[in-house]
Symmetry: C2
Subunit: 512 residues, 2 copies
């Protein structure tokens, strides 16, 4: 234990408290130290790049309902026919590589929470986009703004979540055309981690930027990305006007976007992994090219969301081997292109936080880290193919994210790590429980899972025989009970609330 | 679908049945195609090898209660003082590399089930060594010979288990000193996959070999390994007489052994991964050296079983990042030495097949495949740190093993896999559900999880709102109900039963 750590604790209770939380150092984002796992060699990756160029050249992408986008792309050398845009081989790559940053920092209002996006950094953000929420007490129900605030607070409190995320759940009790204001405010007010903006209409993206200007100062935004927003392709091979408009609003303000083809293989693309990769890469390249033409140098992230489907029912499936293979290959393609990569998370099809949910989530989260994903949406909370976010699932997933932080550090090969003297001093057949090396290292030796029960069967039974979800239930309740909001300048808070009030009053409620 | 497959099916019901099972081709073992994930570079691995040699040279290993072993090791150049054996630097490596096979085949009585041990092959075997069993109907209880038979049958029936394993559970209703006869017979009679032998006393190992001679023919065993048995070190740095005696019995009969240090870091070794690796490697090298001196060329597998521990309670923990790092490093060390590697599985500390069990199991099974483990004990069924084997957990884990088979094949880069024509023929914005490529590939496109529910929330609720364990419960019951024993020569069966009867009558029951 370091001197600093010792000073912070007081007496036995203090030491116990310190011990309970000392298993993993809070870091603003993960810094991986291990070379990524590769599933394709140079030849395979080059072939997929070639196929993506073939798709862009021969089939092209549609940019729908946005004449400005067509003019911009045509002016840059694309062949535009109606809304179909065909790109000469290599055009997208050269535009992207000329101006898109390889890495960038997304700034938070608490600078200790700034995150690095790209390179060896990995950033965990919570679930996104679910209309339903679930907890053990109340079951499954539509999400509300109170749920949204709760999930922002839990994300703020979790040492394993680096980013506040965006639409953690849909606050269905607020009109569709006004809820973005309440959501963005919640991220700004109840957390001080970086966050995502609205993309459901270009004017909602502009509202997000306006609120960010109030919070950070208008000039600050010019060279500081403070919002990172999710722009989904309408696969196969379409970018629509809503997404293009939102992307433009953010790019014009030099704010960051994730350009993400969302592909349910067999529905939005062929069933095979190599085809999903080529199509995803083509679509993402087209979207990133558009953003770089709007504002060269605007921060972008290449996204890939790929799932298999049940060929019986058409339902999406998660945690199966095929999307993991796609993830690994897409991560390599993004690295070769030279832009940050978004994918993965703790995805599952299960309706409840049971063994299915955990196997599937782990089968997505492990490739997320081993493949080297930079920005991880849905790192905690996801259930039901994204239709629901679970309070208990959030807690369970976050614990797994904590483990990834330790794993990403690799093996400590220092002298203390090698511990050769400890082995020299320990007679064969005698245990290490009291050895000086063990005592010097036990506080930080192993990741301490917050949600696992490692006790004996008898002790576990005496403690009520709870399953992991039941333990997680107690944890999120305790966290919310102990939550304290991060401080905010009262003048800024007032200005934000005033802006929201004015905007809400300026147009009628609508459910679209 | 191949002609052969088509001939097997009849009409619509036949096709549906074929579809339900056609998601993954039954193979006798996995053949990985991807280069393993590495957590240490050349320098790190060489340093651990150097430290292992330092341990062997300076501290040495104890070979207890086996004067023959001491004579053998001393004769080969080791420095023997009492029971302490110190090895000159490099001695073990050169003895092992001179005669231990890099890979070998373990033969099954059904030759279609022969398994390759080593290289790019991975073999899944079930849980080993649990005194307790658990299922949803009867809860946790001591295992019986009926449970043992049930688990042999489930392993036989599972397309994802390649090997029948050994002590899947302890049949506590049979005397300790006779149960090995019933266990080995169960593997021989109720399965035709390869199996493991008894190691709890040298004479029980010899009984196993005798029974194998009855089943396969005495001469056959001379150049065909048909038994693979688990020899655990008594860490730290001790091999005891029981294990040495069993290893000798198998090696003399040219049968295979897994030499496995079982290390709970912090108890049997220092808490740090680099130290666990060096000590594991030293202990395994010593054990393998002994086996190679007993019979040069006898098939051996380098094993590593490493777990973290709770530094509060001393309980073992599973699925945490530290043992995964150890696994990856040990796999690399075994490859460099040039012997097959055993580790991993579906390990967990959870008492029940809940989310904890699944997260932890997945966090062990993924490194098992990505690290390139050759023989995987505990691939299915493990609960409670190995104290219990679960029927439902077995079914859930086996499904995950099936996924690993698909993952290990990597991305299909054939023309059909690239599917460029399918993309060319599909207009932007239109789905692929009815495309010719989809229809041609949908039978085999995606792994079909046997235990996952991918239906809508409403459908799942209508189906009873079951969790994964409840679905698995129905699956194992159906499997046992439909079980049919593989044929066996009645004369051989009679000879086996006669041998068992004679042996059981020749000494009194004992509980040690």
């Amino acid at each position: 234990m370091s001197e600093g750590a010792r000073r912070r604790t007081g007496g036995r209770a203090g030491r116990q408290a310190a011990r309970a939380h000392s298993h993993v150092e809070r870091v603003p984002f993960l810094t991986r130290t291990l070379a990524p796992f590769e599933v394709l060699d140079e030849e395979g990756l080059a072939l997929i790049e070639h196929n993506a160029d073939t798709i862009l050249e021969e089939v092209g992408l549609e940019f729908r309902g946005d004449p400005d986008a067509l003019r911009l792309l045509g002016g840059a050398g694309a062949d535009v026919t109606g809304e179909r845009v065909r790109f000469p081989r290599g055009m997208c790559r050269s535009i992207v590589q000329a101006s898109a940053p390889r890495e960038f920092t997304q700034y938070a209002r608490n600078e200790a929470n700034n995150v690095r996006i790209g390179g060896m950094a990995t950033v965990f953000a919570p679930n996104y986009g679910s209309p339903f929420v679930r907890d053990l007490d109340r079951g499954r129900r539509y999400g509300t703004i109170e749920d949204f605030r709760n999930l922002v607070k839990l994300t703020y409190l979790s040492p394993h979540m680096h980013h506040s995320g965006g639409t953690i759940c849909e606050p269905v009790d607020v009109p569709v055309n006004k809820r973005h204001l309440d959501m963005v405010y919640s991220h700004m007010r109840w957390s001080d981690k970086p966050f995502m903006g609205s993309v459901t209409a270009p004017e909602r993206a502009r509202d997000t930027v306006e609120m960010a200007r109030i919070l950070f100062g208008a000039e600050y935004l010019e060279d500081h990305p403070v919002v990172l927003s999710l722009i989904n392709a309408n696969s196969p091979l379409v970018w629509d006007s809503v997404m293009l408009g939102a992307a433009r609003a953010y790019a014009e303000a030099n704010q960051a976007t994730l350009l993400t083809p969302f592909i349910l293989a067999g529905a939005m693309a062929p069933v095979t992994a190599a085809a999903v990769c080529a199509q995803t890469f083509a679509e993402a390249l087209g979207g990133i090219t558009f953003v770089q033409l709007v504002r060269p140098g605007a921060p972008v992230v290449l996204g890939s969301f790929a799932s298999s489907m049940s060929m019986q029912s058409g339902a999406p499936t998660f945690g199966t081997p095929e999307p993991a293979l796609v993830l690994y290959a897409m991560a390599a393609l993004a690295r070769r292109l030279g832009v940050p990569f978004r994918s993965g998370g703790s995805l599952c099809a299960s309706k409840i936080p049971d063994a299915q949910a955990a196997y599937e989530s782990a089968a997505t989260l492990q490739p997320t880290i081993l493949g080297g994903v930079n920005f991880v949406l849905h790192a905690a909370g996801w259930l039901e193919g994204g239709l629901a976010v679970g309070y208990e699932k959030f807690i369970l997933d976050a614990d797994q994210c904590g483990m990834m932080q330790v794993f990403a550090q690799g093996i400590d090969m220092s002298e203390n790590g090698q511990a050769l003297d400890a082995i020299r001093d320990n007679e064969p057949g005698t245990h290490y429980l009291g050895s000086a090396h063990t005592l010097a290292n036990f506080e930080t030796a192993f990741y301490r899972a917050e949600t696992a029960d490692n006790n004996s069967f008898e002790q576990w039974q005496e403690d009520g025989g709870l399953d992991a979800a039941q333990r997680a239930n107690a944890i999120w309740k305790r966290m919310l009970a102990e939550y304290e909001a991060p401080p905010i300048d009262p003048g800024i808070d007032e200005a934000l609330l005033e802006f929201i009030e004015r905007r809400k009053a300026s147009f009628p409620d609508s459910e679209v």
